[in-house]
C-alpha cells in the first residue's frame, strides 16, 4: 500500500467524446496502456493528466484492493458508452489514425480496472431529467443543450456529487451548473 493513500476518497473523472479519443490515443501511444504517464496534450489538460496518472498509479500499487472499500476509493476514469459510439460515428475526424478499430474494440471488451464504461440505461435517463435544456453560461447567455452533450453531463452527475467532468465544448465549459466540476 502506498503510504498516505490508505484513507483516500477521490472523485471519478468523466471524459466526453473528444477527450476520450485523446485519452485513447495516449493510452495506445506514448502512455503505453498506463505503464508511463499521461501528459498534457490536445484536449487533455495538465490537471486532467495529473488526475488520470494519480488514479492509474493507485491501482498499479494497490491491485488487491476491493472496489467497495469505503475508506479507499481513488476514483476511476469514466466515459459513457455513448462516447465510444460518437467516436465510431466520426472516426476519421476524431481518431486521425492515432489508434485502430481493433485497439478500441479490445479496450471496450476489456478496459483497465481503473476505467469504467458507463451504460446508457434507465438510470442515465433519470439523471438526464435533471440536466436543464437551456443553460446559463458564465457570460450570462442562454444556451440550448442537445442530448448528445447532456449525456456526458448526466453521466458525471450519475457518478456522484463530487465527480469531475472533462469536456471540450467551450460553451459547455461555461455552463454555470458545471463550475467547480470541470477538469
Amino acid at each position: 500500500m502506498l503510504k498516505g493513500w490508505n484513507e483516500m476518497l477521490m472523485p471519478d473523472v468523466v471524459l466526453d467524446t473528444n477527450v476520450l479519443a485523446d485519452f485513447l490515443a495516449q493510452f495506445f501511444g506514448a502512455a503505453q496502456r498506463g505503464r508511463t504517464s499521461f501528459v498534457e496534450q490536445d484536449t487533455i489538460s495538465r490537471e486532467l493528466a495529473r488526475k488520470i496518472n494519480q488514479i492509474v498509479r493507485w491501482y498499479g500499487w494497490n491491485s488487491n484492493v476491493v472496489d467497495d472499500d469505503e475508506e479507499q476509493y481513488p476514483g476511476k476514469v469514466v466515459a459513457s458508452a455513448f462516447a465510444f459510439v460518437e467516436i465510431a460515428r466520426k472516426w476519421a475526424d476524431i481518431v486521425r489514425d492515432r489508434f485502430t478499430v481493433e485497439q478500441m474494440a479490445s479496450f471496450v471488451e476489456q478496459p483497465p480496472e481503473w476505467f469504467v464504461i458507463e451504460p446508457v440505461d434507465e438510470n442515465l435517463v433519470l439523471a438526464f431529467c435533471d440536466i436543464p435544456t437551456d443553460v446559463l453560461t458564465t457570460h450570462g447567455q442562454i444556451r440550448s443543450l442537445e442530448w448528445p452533450d447532456a449525456v456526458h453531463i448526466a453521466t458525471a452527475f450519475g457518478r456522484g456529487d463530487d465527480s469531475l467532468l472533462a469536456v471540450t465544448d467551450v460553451q459547455i465549459r461555461r455552463v454555470a451548473i458545471l463550475q467547480g466540476r470541470l477538469v
Binding site: 458508452a81 455513448f82 465510444f84 459510439v85 460518437e86 465510431a88 460515428r89 466520426k90 472516426w91 478499430v101 481493433e102 474494440a105 471496450v108 471488451e109 478496459p111 464504461i117 451504460p119 446508457v120 440505461d121 434507465e122 442515465l124 435517463v125 433519470l126 438526464f128 431529467c129 436543464p132 435544456t133 442530448w147 448528445p148 449525456v151
Partner: protein, 149 residues
C-alpha cells in the same frame, strides 16, 4: 411455452409513460409476450418533454417513468435494452470468425443521427440477443428515414 417479443415504439412508450395506458396482459399459461424497449426511446421522450415538444411536465414524465419501472418492467412484461459495455462490444464492431474486421457501418457513420445509431446498436441481432430478429427490421422500417442527418 411460446414467448413472443415485440418492439415498443416511441409512440408506445409515450402512451405508456404519459397517458399511463395500462398494458392489457394477454399472457396465457402457454403464451408470454415481452415488449422490447430500447432505452433511447426513453431518452428521446425525456428530451422532447424537456424541450416542450410534448405537452406534459417533466415531473409527470418522471412519475410515469417510475410507474413504468415499478409496473411493466418489474413484472417482466417489458425489458428495457441498455447500451452497456457488453452490448457495445457486441454491436459496434464487425467480426469475422471472432476477428474484428471494422466498425459496424450502419451505426458507425455520421450520416446516421446519434439517436438512430444508438437504436441500431441496441437492437442489432447477434448470438447474444434473445429477442426476435425481426424487431431490428421493424425499427428500421419505422425510424430509418428520420434517422438520417
Amino acid at each position: 411455452m411460446i414467448v413472443r417479443t415485440y418492439l415498443l415504439t416511441r409512440a408506445d412508450v409515450e402512451r405508456r409513460l404519459l397517458a399511463r395506458d395500462r398494458l392489457i396482459s394477454t399472457n396465457e399459461p402457454d403464451r408470454v409476450e415481452i415488449g422490447i424497449c430500447p432505452v433511447i426511446e426513453l431518452l428521446e421522450l425525456c428530451e422532447l418533454v424537456k424541450k416542450g415538444s410534448i405537452k406534459t411536465s417533466l415531473p409527470s414524465f418522471q412519475t410515469g417513468m417510475q410507474a413504468f419501472q415499478d409496473g411493466s418492467v418489474r413484472r417482466g412484461e417489458v425489458v428495457i435494452i441498455s447500451l452497456d459495455q457488453n452490448r457495445l462490444a457486441d454491436s459496434l464492431f464487425e467480426r469475422d470468425d471472432g476477428t474484428i474486421t471494422g466498425l459496424w457501418y450502419p451505426a458507425a457513420n455520421h450520416r446516421v443521427s446519434p439517436t438512430h445509431s444508438v437504436r441500431r446498436l441496441l437492437l442489432r441481432p447477434s448470438e447474444q440477443t434473445w429477442w426476435n430478429g425481426d424487431i431490428f427490421a421493424e425499427a428500421e422500417a419505422i425510424y430509418s428515414a428520420e434517422g438520417l442527418e
